[in-house]
C-alpha cells in the first residue's frame, strides 16, 4: 500500500508500507515502519493480512520460525493478491525482538519500506527481556533501515536490484533532526535499568554505541539468550539481526545513542543518526517522562500499569467520544486495574501525562 513520508529535508517521498486496521484506520494509512506487533511468549498469534494494494505481497515473520504455510515466501508458501486476505499463524515460542517484512520481490519491497517490529514479551509480561533476567523500568526499540531515494521515486523501474545505494538512513522511519523531536528520546534515571531492543532490516551494517558511563549487558540476540550475557560497549547488527540489551546509567548525562551505517561492499561509513539519551536523577525527570505502560492489551476486563514511580498515580479511562467512564488512584506497588467496560476501544490517561494509551477490551 502506498504512503508518503516526509524526509528530514522536508521533501515528501513515496513508500510502501503496512498499516493497522484495528482500530478502524480511515484511508487505510500505512507507516514506515509498520505498527509494532506485540505478543506474549506462549501465545498462538494470528495476524489478519489484508492486501489493499494492486501488487502481490506477503508477510514473512523473520525469526519467528513460522511453518511453511505461514512463512510468507512466494515460491515456497504463497503470495497474497490484490484485495485478498490471509491469516498468518505462528507460535510465540521465545521472547525477544523480531521483524516482519514483505517477501515478494524482496529487494524492492523491503527497500520501499514494507517492514516492522514484532516484540514477544516473556510469559511474565513486559518488564523483563527474558525469564529470570533483571527488571527494566523503561524500554526503547529501534529498527534500523535505509532508503535508496531513487528507488522510492521510481519503484516501477529502479534499475538492477544489486545496485541499491543507501542514501537515507533511518531509525524507526526517522532520520537526522527528526530523531530529536522528542518522541524517540531515551530517558532513564541513575541506577535504573532500561531495555534497548535493536533490529536491522537494512542492506548494510548498523553499529549502535552509547556513552561509556552506561553499563550495557547483552541479553538476547535473534530471540535467544546470548550465552554468558556479556557486557558490551557497542553492538553491530548485520542485515536481519536483532540484539536486546539491558542498560544501566551510572551518572547523570545528556548525550546520545549513536547509530552508524556501513556499506557491506567496502565497509565505508555511509550514514549516522543520533537519538537523545538522557540519564537523569529521579527528582528531575519523574514529571517529564514517566514511562508508564499498560498490559495486557487487548484485554478482557483488567489491565496492569507498569509504574516506575514509588508514588500513587491517578488514572482516567475515556471512550473515543471523550467521555470519562472510570477513574481512580493506584497505590504504589499496585498495578492492576479492573475495567469491566464492555468490548471496545478506550483511552487511558495516567497521572495527567500527555500520553493517552489505547486499550482494547475484547
Amino acid at each position: 500500500m502506498n504512503g508518503v513520508v516526509t524526509l528530514d529535508n522536508g521533501n515528501d517521498v513515496q513508500f510502501w508500507g503496512f498499516g493497522d486496521n484495528t482500530p478502524p484506520n480511515p484511508g487505510n494509512k500505512v507507516f514506515v515502519p509498520g505498527p509494532v506487533l506485540r505478543f506474549t511468549q506462549g501465545d498462538s498469534a494470528i495476524v489478519h493480512f489484508q492486501n489493499n494494494s494492486p501488487e502481490m505481497h506477503t508477510i514473512h515473520f523473520h525469526g519467528l520460525d513460522a511453518n511453511q504455510a505461514n512463512d510468507g515466501v512466494p515460491h515456497t508458501s504463497l503470495e497474497i493478491g490484490p484485495n485478498l486476505t490471509y491469516d498468518y499463524k505462528f507460535k510465540c515460542t521465545h521472547a525477544g525482538t523480531f521483524i516482519y517484512h514483505c517477501h515478494v520481490l524482496t529487494p524492492l519491497h523491503v527497500a520501499m519500506g514494507m517492514y516492522g517490529l514484532v516484540i514477544i514479551d516473556p510469559s511474565t509480561g513486559p518488564g523483563t527481556l527474558h525469564t529470570n533476567t533483571p527488571v527494566y523500568q523503561q524500554e526503547y526499540a529501534f529498527l534500523s533501515s535505509e532508503f535508496d531515494l531513487d528507488w522510492n521515486n521510481n519503484p516501477i523501474s529502479p534499475g538492477p536490484f544489486n545496485l541499491f545505494e543507501a542514501n537515507y538512513f533511518m531509525l524507526n522511519g526517522k532520520s537526522g533532526a527528526q530523531l530529536h523531536d522528542g518522541d524517540q528520546d531515551i530517558v532513564s534515571n541513575v541506577g535504573e535499568k532500561f531495555a534497548l531492543r535493536l533490529a536491522n532490516i537494512g542492506y548494510g551494517k548498523t553499529t549502535f554505541s552509547w556513552p561509556n558511563s552506561i553499563d550495557a549487558q547483552l541479553i538476547l540476540s535473534d530471540g535467544r539468550p546470548v550465552p554468558t550475557m556479556p557486557n558490551v560497549s557497542e553492538v553491530s547488527l548485520y542485515p536481519g539481526e536483532r540484539y536486546d540489551l539491558l542498560l544501566n546509567g551510572n551518572i547523570v548525562i545528556d548525550s546520545f545513542l549513536t547509530a552508524t551505517y556501513y556499506d557491506l561492499r567496502n565497509m565505508n561509513l555511509i550514514g549516522t543518526n543520533t537519538v537523545p539519551l538522557k540519564i537523569g536523577d529521579v527528582a528531575i525527570t519523574e514529571n517529564a517522562h514517566k514511562g508508564f505502560r499498560i498490559w495486557p492489551n487487548p484485554t478482557a476486563d483488567f489491565f496492569n500499569v507498569v509504574n516506575p514511580l514509588a508514588l500513587p498515580i491517578e488514572y482516567h479511562m475515556i471512550n473515543l467520544e471523550g467521555k470519562e467512564l472510570q477513574h481512580g488512584i493506584l497505590a504504589p506497588g499496585k498495578n492492576k486495574i479492573d475495567c469491566a467496560l464492555g468490548s471496545g476501544i478506550y483511552l487511558v490517561n495516567i497521572d495527567q501525562s500527555s500520553d493517552f494509551h489505547k486499550l482494547i477490551i475484547k
Partner: protein, 279 residues
C-alpha cells in the same frame, strides 16, 4: 610402566599423517549465463567450481603440496593464522599442519588477485557429519574479474558493485541439484553445515523456519555457541553450523543483504539455498 603408558598415549595423539596434493589455478568460468574469473584450489588439476571440502579426523596431520598452475605468484595462509607462504609462478610448496579442533579450516589466498577471485580450500576437522553439507559463498563484479585475473587491476575495485552471488559455484535456482548445498533432512536430525566465505564482503545468512547454533568460527568467535536465525559470515571465515529441524517443510536460506539475492541485477537469484525437511 607409567612411562610406557604415557608414551603410548602420545603415539595415539598424533594418529594420522596424510599427504595431499592440491592445485591452484585462475580461470574463466560460467555460472548460468554469467562469465567470471575465479581462482580455484582443487584436489584435481582439472578445476571445477564445485570443489568439495576435505575432511580429516581430529589430530590428523596433513602434508599438503600445493602446485601453482598460474604464471603469477600467489600467497596463501590458513584462515586462523596471520602469516602465510608464497608460491612462485608455476612453483610448488609443501605445508604441514595438524588439525586439533572441530572447525572449518581453510587455506585462503592473500595476494590481491587470488584473494579477490576467491582462492580457497576448506579442510573440515573433527565432525564427520560436517562434510555432508558445505556452502562456499562467493560474490564478484564479473566485468572486472578478468582485469583482476591478469593483474591490470591491482587494487580493490572502487566502487565495488558485485553482480554475481553464488553458493558452491551456483546462483539460485541453478543450485537446486547441488547435493552439497541443498539440505535434505528429517525432523530431529543433527544437520551440520560447513560454511566458507570465499568472497570479499560480509554475507549474512538468514534461515527461514529454524534457528541454528554456531559451533565454530575462525573469524567471528564472539558468536560461537549463540543460537541465531541471522548471522554474519566474514570474508575467509569458516563456520560450522548445527541445525536440528523441529518441523517439516521447505524453507529458504539466503543472504539478508538483499542485493545478494540477485543475479546480474535480477530477482530472484544469487545467494540462496533451501532446506527440505521431511518427517
Amino acid at each position: 610402566m607409567r612411562l610406557f603408558i604415557f608414551s603410548f598415549l602420545q603415539l595415539g595423539f598424533v594418529s594420522h599423517f596424510l599427504a595431499l596434493t592440491i592445485y591452484m589455478k585462475t580461470d574463466n568460468y560460467q555460472i548460468g549465463t554469467v562469465n567470471t574469473y575465479r581462482c580455484i584450489l582443487s584436489l584435481e588439476p582439472a578445476m571445477n567450481l564445485q570443489a568439495a571440502p576435505y575432511y580429516v579426523d581430529l589430530n590428523t596431520s596433513l602434508n599438503i603440496e600445493i602446485i601453482n598452475l598460474d604464471t603469477i605468484a600467489h600467497e596463501l595462509q590458513w584462515n586462523d593464522f596471520a602469516s602465510g607462504v608464497v608460491l612462485s609462478p608455476l612453483g610448488s610448496i609443501t605445508l604441514t599442519r595438524t588439525f586439533d579442533q572441530q572447525k572449518v579450516y581453510a587455506l585462503v589466498a592473500t595476494d590481491f588477485s587470488a584473494k579477490t577471485l576467491g582462492g580457497s580450500f576448506a579442510v573440515i576437522a573433527g565432525v564427520p557429519a560436517a562434510q555432508r553439507y558445505f556452502w562456499n559463498l562467493y560474490e564478484m563484479q564479473t566485468a572486472l574479474s578478468g582485469a583482476v585475473a591478469n593483474l591490470s587491476q591491482q587494487s580493490f575495485p572502487s566502487p565495488y558493485r558485485p553482480n554475481l552471488f553464488s553458493i558452491n559455484g551456483y546462483d539460485y535456482p541453478l543450485n537446486m541439484n547441488d547435493t552439497l548445498g541443498i539440505v535434505n533432512a528429517h525432523v530431529g536430525d543433527s544437520v551440520y553445515i560447513a560454511v566458507l566465505n570465499s568472497g570479499n564482503m560480509v554475507h549474512t545468512l538468514h534461515f527461514h523456519g529454524y534457528h541454528f547454533e554456531i559451533l565454530s568460527s575462525t573469524k567471528n568467535p564472539s558468536q560461537v555457541a549463540w543460537k541465531k536465525d541471522s548471522a554474519p559470515v566474514f570474508p575467509q571465515d569458516g563456520m560450522l553450523l548445527l541445525l536440528i529441524p523441529d518441523k517439516m517443510g521447505t524453507y529458504p536460506v539466503h543472504d539478508h543483504n538483499l542485493t545478494a539475492v540477485t543475479t546480474t541485477g535480477g530477482y530472484s537469484g544469487g545467494m540462496m539455498s533451501m532446506l527440505n525437511v521431511t518427517p
